[in-house]
């Protein structure tokens, strides 16, 4: 027992120490901030990008990169970044405001928000931002396993309280874990994408010789339904489906804006 607690504590302490001791990332962040302040958006973007490449994934980083992209004039990438930041934490109001602004200005056109039960479920399952949710889920998981362990090795007379603790922690664990899985899928396997090229032809079949059935503007959010070879079948905000080459899309499932 003591050993388990000790190991957990050790991991935490190690983590805290390593996070505070990470002077390199701190220096990079400061550099990026000052570069942005000095209107050197490209440098700032590259610095933040290097952090994301290192595996530091937070909504604030994405939000900042979105701002840098906007300032550099790359609207579709900016929309991608804001979208990603909101995906990581729906409480990132800055990203929401900026995305709203782009929508109002006509630069962005988003897919319609889910309605009814879907919206309700979505709200509940995204109530806790992903980076917090992970640790909450993990702690509840550890607690639940401990309770179950204790339960099995206790004599019958002392089991009463433990049983209810297990029931409650199990309920919490189910909620947190389902929320965690849901968000994980949304972040890492999102089917949404942003149109990156000025205006693209939406084609009726996955080849460049087929009929163009619509023109999609840059900054439109679309949903990928299926892919064949180098082509994606997409659903546009006005419920039109068609085929688009991969190169025109920035997929939201990646850590950085890129096509398939």
């Amino acid at each position: 027992m003591k050993k388990i607690i000790l190991t957990i504590l050790l991991i935490f302490i190690c983590g805290v120490i390593s996070s505070f001791a990470n002077k390199e990332t701190k220096a990079l962040l400061l550099k990026a901030d000052s570069a942005y302040k000095a209107q050197d958006f490209k440098t700032a973007y590259q610095l933040w990008e290097s952090l994301i490449n290192k595996g530091y994934i937070t909504d604030d980083l994405y939000y900042n990169m979105g701002n840098a992209s906007y300032r550099m004039g790359d609207i579709s990438t900016a929309i991608w970044f804001y979208k990603k930041a909101i995906l990581l934490s729906k409480y990132n109001n800055n990203a929401k405001d900026n995305l709203n602004l782009l929508v109002n200005k006509g630069y962005a056109q988003l897919l319609p928000q889910p309605m009814g039960f879907t919206a309700f479920a979505n709200n509940i399952l995204t109530a806790i931002p992903y980076n917090i949710l992970f640790w909450v889920t993990w702690s509840v998981f550890v607690l639940l396993s401990l309770f179950i362990f204790l339960f099995t090795f206790r004599k019958n007379s002392n089991r009463g309280h433990l049983f209810w603790l297990i029931v409650f922690s199990a309920i919490f664990f189910i909620y947190f874990f389902s929320s965690f899985i849901y968000q994980n899928i949304k972040i890492n396997n999102s089917k949404n994408a942003i149109i990156a090229t000025q205006s693209t032809n939406l084609r009726s079949s996955p080849d460049s010789l087929s009929i163009a059935i619509a023109i999609i503007n840059e900054g439109t959010e679309v949903k990928c339904i299926e892919s064949i070879g180098n082509w994606q079948k997409i659903l546009t905000p006005n419920q039109k489906t068609g085929w688009i080459p991969n190169n025109d899309l920035l997929m939201l499932k990646f850590h950085l804006p890129q096509s398939q």
Binding site: G15, K26, Y56, F149
Partner: protein, 616 residues
Amino acid sequence: MMKRISFLFYFLLIFNSLFAQTFTASTDFSSVPINQSFDVVYELKGANSTRFVRPDFEPFRVIGQQSYTGGGMTVIINNKVINDGSNSQKWIFTLLPTKVGSFTIPPAKVLVDNKWIESNSVTIKVTQAGSPSNNKSQASKPNNQLNKSENIPQVDDDEIFLKAEVNKSNVYLGEPVILNYYIYTRVDVRQYGINKTPSFKGFWSENLLDNNTNAKTTEKTINGKRYVVAHIRSIALYPQETGTLKVDPLEVEAIIVRPVAHRDPFDVFDDFFNDPFNFDPFSMLSPSLITQPEKITLKSNPIQIHVKPLPDGAPASFSNAVGNFTVSASLENDRCFLGENIVYNLLISGKGNLPLINPPQLQLPDNFQVFDPEIEDAFTKSNSGISGTRTFKYIINPLKAGSYTIPPIEFSFFSVTDGKYITVKTPEFNIQVFDPGNANKNSQVAITNLKDDIQYITPIKCLSIFDKLIFNKFFAISLFIIPLILIILVSIFYRKRLKILADFTLQKQKKADREARKRLKYAYKFMKENNSKQFFEQLLSALWQFISDKYVIPLSKLNIDSAKEIMKEHNVDESIIDELLSFIKECQMYAYAPTNSSVDLNYFYKRAFEFIRKKI
């Protein structure tokens, strides 16, 4: 455009008039010079006469006669008889004295309801006349002149003339002047038409009388002569230049029917056949009169108007408005979406040079596009000028969403009555422009929105290693699996240890029997040697060892009391415990007592063996 007025002589036949009837003869003069014509008016009030018998006018010569019914005259316009005023009939005779002296004109007679009514008689004194009046009377015989003259016949000024009148001749720049044209006539005018309209140089003109309506007629007496006055034209003139401005004369072409006094009053038949109006009772009564249509040109008198410049100190917002005005402004809509328009109406009402008012400038914030205003006029023209309203319709096109204020518009005008400039301000207006995209959001905007921009970046203090780790799939999975494995391992280890512990006691118990038997063997050996002391020692150690092993209690802690307790815990029968313990006590007694050979060692051995075999 030709205008038609017919003065026709006729009588109305209306019977059973119940009004009191008066029939009077009158003249404006009591004495006239010789060769100066004058009018004698016979007026019948309150009745309609079917016949009129004129008196003998000797020694006056009748040079003209007119008859009116109603308030002065009856006019036929567009085949409708228009009667105005009181119910009266008039017969007017224009007489020319031929002799000097005092004469009395005998009464005339009218037939009313089959009764003859006589008027009073009129006495006129005729004095010696001067030479110019003599000329005039010569000119009043146009028969001779008409034949000699060219196309434009010369007409006696007295009989018909065109007069121009202005209400003011000394005005400010922009102050309206009303110019009226009247035809004064003593003869019938069949029709008339304006030949030449003056160019009104230096003025902005506005016709006040509708050309389609007929001229209004009145009666006027000038120098004892009755004239029918037709108001043919009324023009509002707005001076655009300062100085003395001249108005050119108006030329009117008219066809007149002039009664002509015949030189030979006895040539009855000739006149009779010449008369185109056979029904005219006068031609029956006075066969010496004939009528003849004639085309004449009338020219008005020229007019001069002095235009003063407006006084100095005009406000910046002065836009040529002279008169008395009130200003009101209103918005047709005070909120709109981007792409729609806001309509601002500036209404100027009053009297003055309304048609000449320039649109005042509308000062707006940068985010607006204003087009030149549409002008909507609602003027009423009267004899005193133009009044009404002029509306400037500004169409404002907002370019950006937000909340704005339209500043007041200043409007200045020169008030002629007060002789100074007056500036009027419209109220301020608040307008709201919504973005159609987020209409609900911006419904209450307190801050004027200039330009939208993105928010500033979020400064990130530091990045936690956890942010890095949770996106590492291996780490994330292992973080869940490691505790699980740990717990499973721990539980397996714990279970095994329990199992081992359980095995240890079992073996000890198993060993207890074997060990006890081993020690009993030694005891048996000492029993054979008859070494009682050694025998008892071995016997005791065998028993203690057996209890210790059996009930898993260390030898050091074992004594009579603890043995009893632990055996009780293991639910051993009380009697057996007591038997065993008493046996042990007996053995101890023999073991530490002095040598005593009389003891049956075999008996003790068998009892101890029994205890162990029974496993207590």
